[in-house]
C-alpha cells in the first residue's frame, strides 16, 4: 500500500507513451544503451535482448525504471543518472520494441545440459555455478546477460565477436581485454598457447590450454602473437547437429545464476 502510493514520488511523473516520448527514448537509447544492448535493442555483445518482452528484473514500468536508474547488482548493468522524464521516455521506447521478436530456440534444456557436461565437454573450459574450467568465460548467468542470437553465434562462430576478459578499474577509458588465442614463443624455444589474463608492454600473464598459469616477462619471450580468434573450437554442423545446437542453446539460455 505504501509502496503503491509512493511510486509517483519516488519515480517522478510518468510521461504518457506518446510518439514523441518513443522518439526521445529511441534517441536516448541509441546514445546510451546501444553499445551493450544493440542499436535495435536486440542484444549486443554485452547486454541481453530487450525485444523479447522477457524482463528478468521485473516487467512493470516501475521495475524497468528502477533497473535503468539503479542498475542491477551483480551484473554489468550500471546505474544511470537520467532525468525522470528521460527514463520514462526510455520505458516508452522499450515498450514499443518489446515483443517484436520471440525466442525461437526450441530444443531441450536437459539434453543441452547433457551435451554441456558430457559429449561436448564445455565444462572443461567454462564454469557454471562454481564448477568447471577456467579458460573460458563463466557462463553461470549467460542466459540472462546475452541474447539468444549472440549465444547461437558464439557456439557456431566463437571468433566473430570475442568475449571480454580483464577490465582495469583504474583505466577509465580502458577497453577490456579479449578472450583471444595467444601464441607465445620463449627465447629458449618453448611454445605456449592460451588466453592472456592480463598483459602490458613488459609482461603477460597467460593461462594455457592445460589450465596452467604462466607469469612471463616479455624480455624472455621471442614472440607474443595475438591470433584475434577464439581458443574455443567453432562447433560446425559436422561437430554439433542442428538439434544438438538448439538443445545446447536452450540450456545456455536457461542459465540465470539462480544457484547463487
Amino acid at each position: 500500500m505504501v509502496a503503491i502510493c509512493c511510486w509517483p514520488v519516488a519515480y517522478g511523473q510518468q510521461v504518457p507513451a506518446s510518439a514523441a516520448a518513443v522518439r526521445e527514448g529511441a534517441s536516448l537509447f541509441r546514445g546510451n544503451c546501444s553499445p551493450c544492448h544493440g542499436l535495435d535493442g536486440a542484444g549486443g555483445g554485452r547486454g541481453p535482448d530487450l525485444t523479447l518482452g522477457r524482463w528478468i528484473h521485473g516487467g512493470a514500468d516501475a521495475d524497468i525504471f528502477r533497473t535503468i536508474t539503479q542498475g542491477v547488482a551483480g551484473t554489468e548493468m550500471p546505474a544511470n543518472s537520467f532525468e525522470d522524464s528521460e527514463v520514462w521516455s526510455l520505458v516508452a521506447y522499450l515498450r514499443s520494441i518489446s515483443g517484436v521478436s520471440k525466442p525461437r530456440i526450441g530444443g531441450s534444456i536437459k539434453a543441452g545440459q547433457q551435451l554441456f557436461f558430457g559429449k561436448e565437454k564445455c565444462i572443461a573450459c567454462h564454469m557454471v555455478g562454481g564448477q568447471g574450467g577456467h579458460l573460458g568465460p563463466d557462463l553461470s548467468r549467460v542466459g540472462a546477460a546475452r541474447s539468444a542470437a549472440y549465444l547461437a553465434e558464439s557456439v557456431r562462430e566463437p571468433s566473430k565477436e570475442l568475449s571480454l576478459g580483464y577490465v582495469d578499474p583504474n583505466n577509465h577509458y580502458g577497453i577490456p581485454l579479449e578472450y583471444d588465442t595467444v601464441l607465445i614463443t620463449t627465447r629458449d624455444g618453448r611454445k605456449l598457447k592460451g588466453v592472456a589474463k592480463n598483459e602490458d608492454a613488459f609482461s603477460v600473464q597467460l593461462l594455457d590450454e592445460n589450465d596452467q598459469m604462466h607469469l612471463l616477462l616479455k624480455k624472455d619471450l621471442a614472440e607474443v602473437r595475438h591470433e584475434e580468434r577464439s581458443l574455443m573450437p567453432a562447433y560446425t554442423l559436422d561437430m554439433l547437429s542442428d538439434s544438438e545446437w538448439r538443445d545446447l542453446l536452450a540450456y545456455l539460455s536457461s542459465l540465470r545464476g539462480e544457484s547463487f
Partner: protein
Amino acid sequence: MRLFTVVVLCTGLLGAQVTNERILNAASEPQNWLTYSGTYQSWRYSTLDQINTGNAAKLALQWVFQSGSLGQFETTPLVVDGILYGTGQDNRAFALDAVTGRAIWRYQRGLPDKIQACCGMVNRGFAALGNRLFMATLDAHVMALDSKTGNVVWDVAAADYHSGYVFSLAPLIVKDKVIVGISGGEYGVSGFVDAYSAETGKRLWRFKTVPGPGEPGHETWAGDSWKTGGAPAWLTGSYDPALNLIYWPTGNPSPSDYGKDRTGDNLYSNSMLALDADTGKLKWHFQFTPHDLHDYDATQVPVLVDADWHGEPRKLLIQANRNGFLYVLDRTNGQFLSGKAFAKVTWAKELSATGRPILEPGSEPTETGTHTCPGALGATNWFSPSYDPQTRLLYVSSSVECDTFTANAQKYHEGHDFIGSVYVPAKGEKTSGAMRALDPFTGEKKWEFPYSSPPWGGALSTAGGLVFGGDSEGNFIAFDARSGKVLWHMQLGAAIYSSPISYSVAGRQYVSIPAGGALFTFALPEGAN
C-alpha cells in the same frame, strides 16, 4: 663547491615570488617548473641532465603523495623553489615539500552536485604569479589561492555550471592576467577564452569561440546552431612574448558527431587561435578540422619553435592533432606549412596546399555506423607532447584505435549530453598505442615504442638524452631519446593520466608523475651520481 652554491641559492629563494620575468625566462631556472608546459614555448623539456642515459636504470622511488581520491589524477604540478604545488580530482589542491612529499597545506573546494564533467572530475594544475596560485574549477569558477597557506584570495564565476560549463585546465599567466578556456563541448556550451586580473579577479577580456550574429565567422553556422555550437577551449595554450600572441586551441562543435543541423565550417571549432594578449582580439586562426563529425578537438598543446624552414628562419607552431595529422604553421600569420599523418587516417585523403582536409567520401557517421580512423578519442589527445632541441624530435603519445560512429539526431536539452552519436571501438580490431618520436620538419617517424592500449600519459624530454612517458597499464618509462630503447620502467599500479615534470632541489634532480590517486617522485639514489 658548485653544489654548495646551488644549495645556498635554492635556500635563499625559498618562498620567493614568481614574477613575470621568471616565467618569461623559465628555461634559465630548470630547478623549477613554473608554468604548465615548463616554458611559454610549451616544449615540456628540462635542461637538467643529472639523470641521463648512463644512469637512468638506477632511478628509485623517493616519495609518494596520496591525493585522497581515485579517478583520473591529471595534474601537472608546479615547483617553485623547493615547494611543489598541485591540484587533484574534485578540485583538491596541495603544497608539498618537494624533497620529502610531506604536505604543507591542503585545500578542497566544496562543489555542488550535478556538475556535468564529461570526462571525470579532473583538474590539470595551477598557474602561479607573485605569491598566488590560480585554479579553474569544475563549477566554472576561477580562483586565486595564497601559495603559503592555500587560503582563498579571490573567487569569481566565469559561467553557469548548470548549463554544462566546466573548467578542467591549468590556467596560463601572461603579464598580469590569468588566461583560462572553458570545457563543455559535450553539452552544447558556447566556448570562450577569458583573461582575469591576477590581482583582483576582474574579467579583462573574453574571446567567444562561436561568433554571434554580425561577427565574422557567424555565417559558418546554419540557422540557430551557433547558439549551442560548443567549440570549447579546454587546454592550456602557449605564448610568444615577442609577438605578444597567445596560441589557444579549441575543441569540437556541438553536437560533436552529428552535423546535419550545423552545416558550414563551424568556426572557430577545432582551430588554433592567435589572440592578442592585451585585448583578446583575434589576430589569426587556422581551422584543422572544419565541420567536424568525429570529435576531433584540436585541444593539443601548441609547441613553439624557431627554426629554419626550407632554408629560411621561421617562427613555427607545431601541433600533433587529434585528427591524425602533424601540423606545422607559421605562427606570425597562421600560414599552413605542412601537415602529414602520424597515425592511421581514413576520414581524409590528405591536406590541401592550404591545409584544408580533402575528405574521404563516406566517412561521415550514419544510422548503421561508419568505420573511421582515428577513433573519437583521437590519434593523440590533451596529454602533452615534448620537443627536444637536442634531437629536434617531437615525442607524441599516440593511440591506435578506430571507431564505428553511429549518427543519432538529438534534441538540445540545456545541461545534458549533446553528442549526436554513439561511437564504439571497431569490432575485431585490437586497440593499442605507442610513444612516437616524430621529426616535425619532415613528418617522418624516427622510432616508436608500442603500448598495450591507448595511452593517456604525455611526454617529458630532458637534456640527459631521455624521454619519459607513461601508459594506461601503469608503467612509467624512461626511453633513450635518440633510439627509443627502454632504459628503465616502473609499474605504478594504475593508469597514468598526466605528463611528467622534472625539477631539482639542492642539486638533486627529480622526476614526478601522477598515477591512480597518487603522485610518484623518482631520483637517482643518493651518491649514485
